[in-house]
Amino acid sequence: MGLLTSPTAGGSSKKFANILIKWEPVVSPLLYIAGIIWFLALAYHPYNAGTYFSENALLPGLVTNEFSDGSELARLLKALEAEAADHPDTVPHPWIRAQFRQLGLQVYPHNFTLRYPLGNGSVFHGENTYAVLRAPRSGSTEALVLSAPYRRPGAPHPPNHAAVAMLVALAKYFRRQVYWAKDIVFLVTEHEQLGVAAWLSAYHQQPVGHGLLDAGDLPGRAGSIQAAINLEVESATVSHVDVLVEGLNGQLPNLDLVKMAHWICHQEHIQHTTQGRADHPRPHSEAGYRHSLQTLLHMMASQAAGTPTGNHGHYLRSVAPVEGNHGHYLRYGIQAVTLRALDDRSMPGPRSGLSHLARVLEGMFRSLNNLLERFHQSFFFYLMPATGRYISIGLYMPPFALVAIGIVLRALTCWLRLPDTDDSEGRQQEAEGAESDGKKGGNACDRPSEPCVLPCVLAPHALGAVTLAGLVPLTQLLAAAGWPTERAVFAGLLTVSVGSLLLPAITSRRSALSESGRLLLRCVTLIELGLLVFTAALFNISLALIVTTLYTPVALSARYYSSAPARLLASLCLLLVHPFTLQLAAVALGAPALAWRAVLAADQRALAVALVDSLVYGARLLDVACTVLLPLWLQMWTLVHCG
């Protein structure tokens, strides 16, 4: 290891740095625009790919589906409807259990309790019923699940009696077949998502919900669950079947399963849709492109919400919310979809009967029965612009990277523009401390004269963490004063959002930021933002892309402007992308009419629901928004306002 002085290599790195500093302000916005155009182009038929079966063991549709007992199905539905009318306040578990027991299945009850954490804190009880059809051809090592939520009359959702009747009818049919190699579990749940989450938690002995959800134990089990189909049937005639895929935190089921659901519907000549939208007849045309782009954006909107609901159900209160109970299976590595059969008058084409739908399910289960190993081939990360098309992670990542790369490039130029002093090590330490969540802090201010960037980074993060931790106690406190939970959460978040606007005034009073201090703060903020969006892209590309598209321009322009109008404009732009504003905008976009009172009420409800989702189900959207996105926003706000 020796040293040489090389005259040829002289200043080459400086040259590169100068080129980067000179051209970056032009290149970053161009890449941003190019990335967005590229991404939007992916919805065009020739630029994405057709779904295909990667798992050959599925052998879909090789057999003729034989279910034909439509009269039995109708009888069961009628009986259940009568039972439901007799007991409007409870779930007719005795009736359901009797039906399964008559078939000779093993039937078990499952009780669960939720201690609602917010407000006054009430306790909810629920009961599920499940029946296990033991596989005649193997030991109970593997299982498939067919589940349906039971909905009481008067629930906000349309009744689902037909699906429960279908479960019983299918159980009766499946019972007579000899080819099952996997146990089949028929599961009727109560309280929508909560019932499924509790049942899965008990099945796997894996507590969820921070001890709030007492799932208890199960009296009987089948094997390791390979796949699950959740069924929702709204009427006895079916215009089309919608396949819901989005799960908790944006997780998606294996594309093979999704493809299989669509394929078997296609084979049985039932219309099938994704995001409630059928395919355009001429996908190559301009109208076809617009149609699939809209489908893609619908999927992104519901995936970005991070809750296992199709069509961002929380916000669309005018139409019935869609609950995708399949979303909870995904977190246990169980591939699952919800089939939602409905009779939509606006949908053209022939109507099918329930026995038609039963044949679809029969086909799916016979296919799944062929599985030799867990779903592992095909894609887990994709977006769907049409029922038979997908955009894989390899296709959507490059345009996403282009949209986000400006953040990284700007961070690099900020670093390069820092004056070359003796304490770049100190800076490095500082940056390191800040990025690892402020944990490694305590090492700024090497010299008294040095600007203190650390408080500007740590204070917002601490504020975000305190906000998140304080929401539950706040609702309890305000409940004592008679405030409803929804208003308490809203008021709490609004107070923090407005109050934190004063943060730059407080931090800058302690230590004014010098030019290099501001550059350093920009650099740290941009790196953290870059880390956030690239990490989010792995979990939930839709959310990541939406946040990146909105935040890249403001992050690139977040600096101190000496002219007052420019500063005002920058502040306005920032306020437009405040997490709180974004939430409001998302609700307003989903709301049917733009009456501000209705939007406000919907927003309050959405925030409370997001908090419950985070506490009970482990949805991370609110957590990340409070502890990372809000602090980042505040750092940018500091940058704009610290002269």
Partner: protein, 412 residues
Amino acid sequence: MMEPLLLIGGAFVRLYLMHNDFFKNLCDGTIFSTPVSSWKRVTEGSYLMGQDISPYEGDMVHEPPLTLLLYNLLLQNFAGIVPAFFILVDLLTAHILKRTADKFVQKQERPAVRSGAAPPSSPSPVPLIVAAVYLFNPCTAVSCAALSTAGLHQLPLALVFYAAVTERWWVCLCSLSVSCYLDLYPVVLLAPLLAAVGAAGRSRLLAALLAAGCWAGLLLLSAHALGDWSFLRSTYGFILWTWDLSPNVGLFWYFFTEMFQHFESLFIATFQINAFIYAVPLTLRFRGQPVLVMFALLVLMVTFKSYPSVAEAGLYLALLPLWRPLAPHARYGFVVTCFYASVMVLAPVMWTLWIHAGSANANFFFAVTLAYNAAQIFLVTDLLFAQLKRDHVLTHGSAKEVEGKPAKLVLC
């Protein structure tokens, strides 16, 4: 004044992490505890000992006998204070690291102050930074919360650095043998230490004999306590032959999962040699700076050992601020920082996606571990290169011109 505050803060962070569901789930991952440092395996060993079965008979326990006996004692009598024990060990390590930094900075400043070139300055913040980085580094904090026994392994290593800086060779060599006894790899630090002992005018042979004797004594004691030598296979054999290929942040597991059995021994030797081979050349090249060489070897050791965990990275990251004077000459500070930050975020994310969600696969996590190890290599080469450049500048001045043109220092 600041130090007690930092220590209390560090203890609180660890206590909080121990009681947090989210981190509990994170800790089941092998990022934080490897087969050689997993607490679950220690409890298994303790149970086996209680049943009068040799803990090393199966393939479960790889903890050295003496520490296993210590943990057994704790588990049998004071099971409740085990978390407190690990927290105390971490605090002690942080304190020793701070004292090390104190002495190191004093030594650096002394010549300049004595010659009047620099006024006696206010106390340097570096020691506090060192302690803070060790205490609040997520790597060490979460490892401690996972009760990874790697936390205890860092204590003698920190003591080696302290004793080397304060030139207490006797203590230094003894703690080195303890460290070798626990982990085997720290034996590489012997090369720079022997050079330093020689430079201080003591006998190298005596020092080597002392270290070897101390190590042998510990082994004999273990054999005496257990009654046989079967532990050698389960501890050192297990480390050297790398039988367990469960994923960790190191380089071995992915490579050897793919490897044909036939070539295994050749490549095991090739991989293991990396952890040791740099000791002598680096010692020869950086004669005057034993602590720098020890630091570089520590990083290389963590990179190339068979079962590394991020707890070990915590130690060298804490000592990094000691090399502040080299910072102006370092080139990749920004790159390395970004690498470390992204790896720290992405490793648990990829782990979750692969193991918990089942959506990703081994390649996702492997890519992150590759980036992590690349960052470590970048860090150590950049640091050593910076030292060379600094030496050059100190002897030749900072003007870098060849025949009037600006020039650049390059490695050859």
